[in-house]
Symmetry: C2
Subunit: 206 residues, 2 copies
């Protein structure tokens, strides 16, 4: 069965939509995943009025979702580049992005093994926790920084192709970047503030 | 008195050299000023084997030099833009850059008034110190982030004008950016580590 239209031009439309989807998908996945869910994962362990095992489960599940969305986000970037014949992995944004994903993965696996299952000895846990927090903060700040590089890179491409430098779209992207930075700042500030309940393995260990 | 050559084309050469100088000057001033001297100012208060008043003096003088070089660096960016008819203050790099300079200035003046001259009461000092450290870390991380945005922005312009994406120049800029990030990371790590001598107003107050 076939409708009375040529398949090839329609396939171009499909590819075009796929590319638009991938372009849109990458920042959305990264912002919702690594930045927002990652931030919520960090905040949840500090602030939820729950017992430690429950907070830990929420912390690791949220970070797992963030990581998976981040990996899909990296995949969409490669897919979009390959389908549009754009070079891969030449920019600082891409280098740091790969770095963030790899470090995020290492941090998650280490945290899972030491703090969840099978779990390290008490000595290993209490030795590890400040480094887990410190390394986590580092990766999170690097993720926020990499996101701002992405906003700037995309906008610079668009502006060199004629997008107005002081137009609404440009301002929207820049203000989104600033909101992202402020969100990340308050996530980190949450960790460095006083916990509302005492907890031996609280982030306050730092 | 006049030599036997037309002034106008020679003035073009002068302007061209001025512009090259300004382009080169901006990243050099920012890197040497806000990033390196700013980092040394932060480290010095934590690590120098000196008495507190001496460390404080070194801390504030280094930050003052960093700030002055930063202000000259901002000036050279405007000068270069105006002489080359490039728009000012449209990019995320420029917005954050202005933000960093303003916050750096506020932080310096507050620190000078409260901790140096005329100096606040003991209560105000001990209440202020963790916020001074926290705000200082925030501004410094923002400065490092703004620098990486600058590397990426400049390189994106150059690459859209034909510079090889995987060439030595591009790699040099990207690796410089990564070294800048690593330097900033170790400056912050220094603050968060244990001091080698006990000190009431040490950074460890955080």
């Amino acid at each position: 069965m076939a409708i009375g239209a040529k398949a090839l031009p329609i396939s171009f439309v499909a590819h075009f939509l796929g590319i638009v989807g991938a372009i849109l998908l990458h920042p959305v996945l990264m912002l919702i995943g690594l930045i927002i869910l990652g931030g919520e994962a960090i905040i949840s362990y500090k602030c939820l009025p729950l017992k430690k095992p429950e907070k830990k489960l929420i912390h690791l599940v949220l970070h797992a979702i963030a990581l998976i969305l981040g990996i899909i986000g990296v995949y969409t970037a490669f897919k979009f580049h390959n389908e549009s014949n754009i070079a891969n992995l030449y920019s600082l944004h891409s280098w740091l992005g790969i770095g963030v994903i790899v470090l995020y993965g290492i941090q998650w696996v280490y945290g899972f093994l030491v703090f969840f299952y099978p779990g390290g000895t008490t000595a290993i846990r209490s030795e590890s926790i400040p480094w887990h927090v410190l390394f986590g903060i580092f990766i999170y700040v690097l993720a926020v920084g990499t996101a701002t590089l992405g906003y700037l890179e995309k906008l610079t491409f668009l502006e060199s192709n004629g997008l107005e430098k002081y137009g609404s779209e440009a301002f929207l992207v820049n203000f989104t970047a600033i909101v992202t930075i402020l969100y990340g700042t308050f996530v980190i500030l949450t960790i460095l503030s006083q916990p509302h309940q005492e907890d031996e393995y609280s982030y306050s260990a730092i």
